[in-house]
Symmetry: C2
Subunit: 331 residues, 2 copies
Amino acid sequence: MKDMNSAQNNVSDLLKLARKFNSFYLSGLHQGICKPFIVAGHQVGLVRPDVLKYLQRFPEVFRIAGKYVELNPAFRDYKERTTRVADVLQKLRKENEICALKGWRDECFEVSTAFYQESLLEMDRSAICLFGIRNYGVSVTGYLNHPSKGLCIWLQQRSFTKQTWPGKWDCFVSGGLAVGFGILETTIKEAAEEASVEGELVKKLVPAGCVSFYFESERGLFPNTEYVYDLELPLDFVPQNADGEVESFELLTAEECIQRALSPQFKTTSAPVLIDFLIRRGYINPENEPNYRYLVELLHVPLQSIYNWPFTHMVAAAAVNGDDQGIYDDN
Amino acid sequence: MKDMNSAQNNVSDLLKLARKFNSFYLSGLHQGICKPFIVAGHQVGLVRPDVLKYLQRFPEVFRIAGKYVELNPAFRDYKERTTRVADVLQKLRKENEICALKGWRDECFEVSTAFYQESLLEMDRSAICLFGIRNYGVSVTGYLNHPSKGLCIWLQQRSFTKQTWPGKWDCFVSGGLAVGFGILETTIKEAAEEASVEGELVKKLVPAGCVSFYFESERGLFPNTEYVYDLELPLDFVPQNADGEVESFELLTAEECIQRALSPQFKTTSAPVLIDFLIRRGYINPENEPNYRYLVELLHVPLQSIYNWPFTHMVAAAAVNGDDQGIYDDN
């Protein structure tokens, strides 16, 4: 049977980019290398070997049994799980060896089951990539239909002092969904802080779906879902940053945006939002993009079910059956 | 480990509908029951046992070897594969036993590899569901922003003489991608034939992505990808059918559309286009739909890679290794 990568002709630049921000998804989740992370009977993530070696030092918190890493099931509730995990992370943070923890945020993300969104614990935002926990955020595309240039989009350059992707080009406005904040609420908050979008303009925010992709970097695993919002801006609007996290803003044509997204100056994990917007607006379309349907697929990889079906379900079955030749084996 | 279906609370009506049009996807592709269909070394589909029993009678065309059904690899090219398969289908059609073939169309769909869209053969449209061949079509949502009713959408009722889904409510305009027709070309052709969209109005068609889902019915397997187009219509536009395939048209508010889509009067496999449109327009949004992100996921299931990774890739490896305990086994 031919390998899916055997014929490399006809691969567009956008598809190459979509493969890049899905580096972990397209690796087959490093089948056999990472261990499922289980909390209260639910798989909520994956742990890489480089992280596992740190967790092994805390057997009272993380049980590493065969093919799994399990948060001690004796922890009774959300609060106890949160505290016990935070203790370990603070110890590791002080040792200053794990790159991701150098960006400690003092802002927690929720760890929950995918389908019914049952909250299991919360964890500092910087740490969730160590466990491959699903990460939710919001992104706003600020755009306008320019009388002579056509579709134009405001991009932001991230501050050079940011812990992640400093100085890179990014969407107009974006932010993570921290514990206690709603989706629209976060969008409105971030739009005000990052770009001074306020008053009547806020009412023009239009939710338009979400993009999901699974990226991996040296720092960790990023199964990201971004709720996307569109915001048509007046021709004379100029975004002003209010929280010091933005270096500058620039208004680009759609074509310039694509070129920027394809360049190394763009935050890889923000490209899906931009590509999705340009697809929804018809700028990228079946007539000009040979890999259109596969591109759309790679903007919506099945993160909500990736830890339940089909892989882990079968692994669970194999484990229950005492089958040591489970499908996560590399041989 | 808890089953993903154990907690049935908080499941919205729209999620129930999304599960319905993904009945085959969510069954885990009937793991162990259907056999991969291989053409020229590529898996292009799946064959159910009820179809397999007919194919077994034609061993010179379909080789049923272990876990696979393979089109005879001695067939040299597109033309020979097409002719040999058509011969079998015509014989079966004459026997008048297979429900799907009663709707013979004299219109061929292409059978191709997913990623690089290499054409392998063509097959009558009515037969592709027997082999689980990926099916591509176009759909247009004709809408308007009504001064008093807000977002409104034109729906069509299918003719009672149609072979499939007679009399059911459907999108404004839709059609399958037949051999030799482009995507935009098909959209324009269908918009003219089904609803008399012509002239300047055609230029307002906006491509806006695609939806993918995997439905199963008694007739067969439907891994469908629909290229979606939006068309804003003038307030005074009234669609007129020109090809006799439409019973009537009706203009509904967004809320009425949702109710119609949830009713048994709606063509199940057209609901994804409508839901996707209402999500992209912000009518269905994270604040009013509790299963929003999972709903978006079920509008974009990974059909382009479903026959290659992860299942079949591993099955192929198991077959190569002579491993009889492959993952398709039910035990």
